[in-house]
Subunit: 156 residues, 2 copies
Amino acid sequence: MTDPRPTPLPPPEISDATLRRFVGYHMKRAFNVVQADLTATLGPFRLRMLTYSALVLVCDNPGLSQTRLAAAMDIERPNLVVIVDELERRGLITRDRVPTDRRAYALMPTPSGRRLCGQAIKAVEAHEARLFAGLDDTTRQTLVAVLSALRATPNS
Amino acid sequence: MTDPRPTPLPPPEISDATLRRFVGYHMKRAFNVVQADLTATLGPFRLRMLTYSALVLVCDNPGLSQTRLAAAMDIERPNLVVIVDELERRGLITRDRVPTDRRAYALMPTPSGRRLCGQAIKAVEAHEARLFAGLDDTTRQTLVAVLSALRATPNS
DNA sequence: TATTGTTATACTCTATAACTATA
DNA sequence: TATAGTTATAGAGTATAACAATA
């Protein structure tokens, strides 16, 4: 199976050894892959990673306030507003006033929201099972442990 | 050390067990931490993760074309244009026409670009050493191996 | 004064279509 | 025709300041 073509210009391998030494570089690329796959998985539910995360947290913690939800999602409160707007507009959650603190909202899942959430969770489970099929349990646990430990950064 | 205050409302722990079961959730949060830290690290050099990656690749592969650089960085060519624009405007790289193919550019680092690149690499090395100080070599290698393996996604 | 939710805003990254000039 | 680089554009995520209502 020799190739008779006079290879027009054998594209010299790119040397990315320097970049590959940095974990952040690998994290970025890996996350892009996961993100793209997850977006496709959630597409049929008209959810994105952020709306999905918010819906799951509201279903698991009915009555959550937006401030605490934003903290749990590790995003800024202003950025949560549009996410809650979207979930509320679709009738998946409700914003109920808290009698004891009329500043805050108690976010509650609707029956429809709970239903969609359950379906989306199953889809994401299947998505992750496929994506991480090559990892044994120990490696997967190590991965999660390492990523979790990165939460708090003792910056200099 | 008893607390005499009548805890106004003991914020019930948020149950995020469902989300925590998904690796993508941990990847997102971990990447946000790394990204924020890296942005701070590169700030003094007026570089971001993308401009840094591009500069490193051009320094390691002088004469690289934009198409191949975009492929190496795993971004779309249109998005690379502004990155190359910025590096060129700052005098860190040059866009030289390729005599044999006048459509393409040969990206070359300037002496100033090489100098800044060397300094930035050292800063990023220190940044990563600090960020991943808790990981032994084996764990770190496992992490990189797992993240790298995620590149190609056999999507269903 | 402090906090909840909100608006406005800006920057970055990502993705696609369509154009130009070359090949 | 196909490719290299470009422009325009749109969507999404992130971050900060400042405001009204309420505590």
